[in-house]
């Protein structure tokens, strides 16, 4: 066991291998508030990578309704069972990660979902917390008794992957050039230890080839400076992929850094697991706050406050408008007046978008036609 720095926990932690950060780390920001659960991302991924026989059940990208949706069934409930509730004090994790207090004979605290847990990818869709009675109405948000939200999930290409720690053969590796985590298809012997060790359940066994497979972050696209399929196909424009600076370094012009480190509006999912996941979420502002604390850690209230102030924050607003505006990886951005501009690594302009899109509010009554303008959708 080595002692490594996990900035998301505000402390060092135990990990089977020494700290060895990649030259740069691919990272994502997902704005959960904008996701409509259309599953276009899921299908984009499925039809690109996992349409072979043996991969039928695999969804490297899935979108689930929280709190009653999960794929595989109950994965996050199990994770919390395995770890116990997270305890934070002043931004520091006091409880144990999946790498700490591991039972004798195991490499990480994990579990293997049952076969049927993979059989209901859209279980719990749109099911809210609470029961709506005759006359139930929601007077204000957040409403602790009545809410649901969507959580889009891919492999987190963790800095300290649970899958890597669990594999006794070192058949999973993290690429030094971009931090993408891959299963070596020559070395894997199908032990499924990775599937057991990943807290997010994002490694899956191929029933035909008998090896384990996982999200590859569309590395052939990333190598060409393009964002992954799930990002570029997203209808809701909730996603952005880019490179995050290492801990202790911040580049405020880098979109990912700006969201994660400057505005701190995007947070890791279940950071208490200790893998330092690299998908960051803008928390759903209408969900139960206690739930969000467990899910995104202690920064969730502040993140929502910042998010709700976006309209008064031209830089944040401009960057939000740049989500989903280009297929290319945006390394830098700037906002000039009413225009937000995205740039590539060399500083060349990739895209420019208006910070505020023109909108028109219809009158309540159409004088010309003598008709009321109902919203008839």
């Amino acid at each position: 066991m080595a002692e490594v720095n996990n900035w998301q926990l505000g402390r060092t932690m135990q990990y089977p291998y020494p700290e060895n950060r990649p030259k740069r780390q691919i990272a994502w920001v997902f704005d959960t508030n904008k996701c409509i659960a259309c599953q276009t991302c899921t299908i984009a991924c499925k039809s690109t990578w996992t349409w072979g026989s043996g991969q039928e059940y695999m969804l490297w990208n899935n979108v689930e309704t929280k709190p009653f949706g999960f794929f595989p069934t109950g994965w996050d409930v199990e994770l919390l069972n395995v770890m116990g509730p997270a305890k934070w004090a002043n931004g520091k994790l006091e409880s144990q990660t999946i790498f700490e207090g591991v039972p004798a004979g195991e490499r990480v605290k994990g579990w293997l979902p049952a076969e049927e847990d993979w059989a209901n990818p859209n279980i719990g869709e749109d099911e809210p917390v609470g029961v709506a009675q005759q006359g139930t109405y929601i007077p204000s948000m957040p409403h602790n008794e009545m809410w649901f939200s969507y959580l889009a999930r891919i492999c987190n290409h963790c800095t300290y992957p649970g899958c890597v720690a669990a594999c006794p053969r070192q058949a999973i590796y993290k690429r030094p050039e971009d931090g993408i985590v891959l299963v070596d298809q020559e070395r894997c012997r199908g032990y499924q230890e990775c599937a057991q060790g990943c807290p997010y359940k994002k490694v899956m066994f191929n029933n035909n080839t008998r090896t384990s497979e996982k999200c590859i972050a569309c590395f052939p696209k990333i190598e060409q400076g393009l964002q992954p399929q799930c990002v570029t196909s997203c209808i809701g424009r909730i996603r952005i992929a880019g490179f995050i600076s290492p801990p202790g370094e911040v580049n405020p012009q880098n979109p990912i850094d700006f969201l994660v480190k400057v505005r701190k509006v995007a947070l890791p999912l279940y950071p208490q697991a200790g893998t330092e996941p690299n998908v960051y979420y803008i928390p759903p502002m209408h969900s139960g706050r206690d739930y969000l604390h467990q899910m995104f850690g202690p920064g969730s209230d502040e993140a929502i406050k910042t998010y709700q102030n976006t309209k008064n924050d031209p830089e944040l607003l401009g960057l939000m408008m740049l989500f989903g505006s280009t297929e290319r990886i945006m390394h830098r951005f700037r906002v000039e007046g009413e225009t937000a501009i995205g740039m590539d690594e060399a500083g060349a302009e990739l895209v420019r978008v208006p910070v505020r899109e023109p909108s028109w509010v219809r009158t309540y009554f159409d004088e010309v036609r003598g008709a009321y303008n109902h919203n008839i959708t």
Partner: protein, 307 residues
């Protein structure tokens, strides 16, 4: 069942249950084990002339030999460990004809696990021989019988492993199973091969494309030859020559694995008639979640190879 044919409490209850269910099978199980010759005191590879019965694990040629009982241990040297001792004992018999050597491995397992599948694991067994026992013996603090690394060799101490897998036996016997065999009610309305043709579709089967032995579509032998030099270093050998066959009947696996005694390959073990060689074993019980390091293993035992 214990080694001397006595029933332990659990198998007695199982046997009683079977009788109660109207079958004479349980009586058969008792007789099946009890009629066997006794236990051998040492492991001997008996000299035979002519072809070895490598396809016939149930043949008298094998069962007439005394078995050498090997006590199996839970692998607890490196994590992950198995959760329980699923296979306490392995019976070993061996034969050679001067050209090939064959091992007959037998153990109790009432649930056949012969599929590689999500959240499911296969039964399997392995024989391990040192590649260069003399060099290992000469190395400091090692002796042929005790000092060699008990599982999968060590850096600089290569081992040669013959790994029989129930799932590969299934492939050989019944043809390589498809997802349909695992999930009879599954439906897949579009496959890469259907759209692109077999050759172009191969990239959508990454394990096959990468040449991983797990993924091989053609299976000629249920046994894989591997080399290793310490935990986690297990690698498929380039030259696959091992043969054999395994069957499970009446709650026991009987598996024969054979290989050339001298393949002329410096990276494989050489077995010489008239000499002694250390040999080690490992067994996996799929039902108990055994795979990889979650296994039962045995320390090196010396094997006399008849002249």
């Amino acid at each position: 069942m214990t080694t001397d044919g006595q029933m332990d409490r659990r198998s007695f209850i199982q046997a009683a249950g079977a009788i109660a269910a109207g079958g004479a099978l349980a009586v058969g199980v008792a007789a099946y084990v009890a009629m066997r010759p006794g236990a051998a005191e040492k492991l001997v590879a008996h000299r035979r002339s002519g072809p070895l019965p490598i396809d016939a694990p149930n043949s008298e040629a094998w069962l007439d030999l005394d078995h050498f009982p090997v006590t199996m241990l839970m692998q607890q040297i490196t994590p992950p460990h198995p959760s329980e001792l699923a296979v306490p004992e392995l019976w070993v018999r061996a034969m050679h004809n001067g050209t090939d050597i064959a091992f007959h491995l037998e153990w109790g397992d009432t649930v056949v696990n012969d599929l590689d599948k999500m959240v499911a694991f296969r039964d399997s067994v392995a024989v391990q021989l040192p590649v260069a026992p003399e060099a290992d013996a000469a190395a400091p603090k090692t002796s042929v019988t005790m000092g060699l690394a008990p599982t999968q060799g060590a850096p600089g101490q290569n081992v040669h492993i013959l790994h029989w897998k129930a799932s590969w036996q299934y492939d050989v016997d019944k043809g390589r199973r498809t997802v349909k065999d695992l999930f009879p009610n599954m439906h897949n309305d579009m496959t890469p091969e259907g759209v692109l043709g077999e050759a172009n579709a191969l990239v959508f089967y990454p394990g096959v494309f990468a040449g991983n032995s797990m993924s091989a579509r053609e299976r000629k032998s249920p046994i894989e030859e591997l080399t290793a030099a310490g935990f986690g270093s297990l690698t498929t050998h380039e030259k696959q020559l091992a043969q054999g066959r395994g069957v499970n009947e009446r709650g026991r696996w009987r598996v024969v694995v054979s290989m050339p005694m001298d393949s002329g390959d410096a990276t494989k073990a050489t077995v010489r008639a008239g000499a002694s060689t250390p040999v080690a074993f490992a067994v996996w019980n799929g039902e108990k979640g055994n795979r990889g390091a979650r296994k039962q293993y045995a320390n090196w035992v010396p094997m006399e190879v008849e002249a």
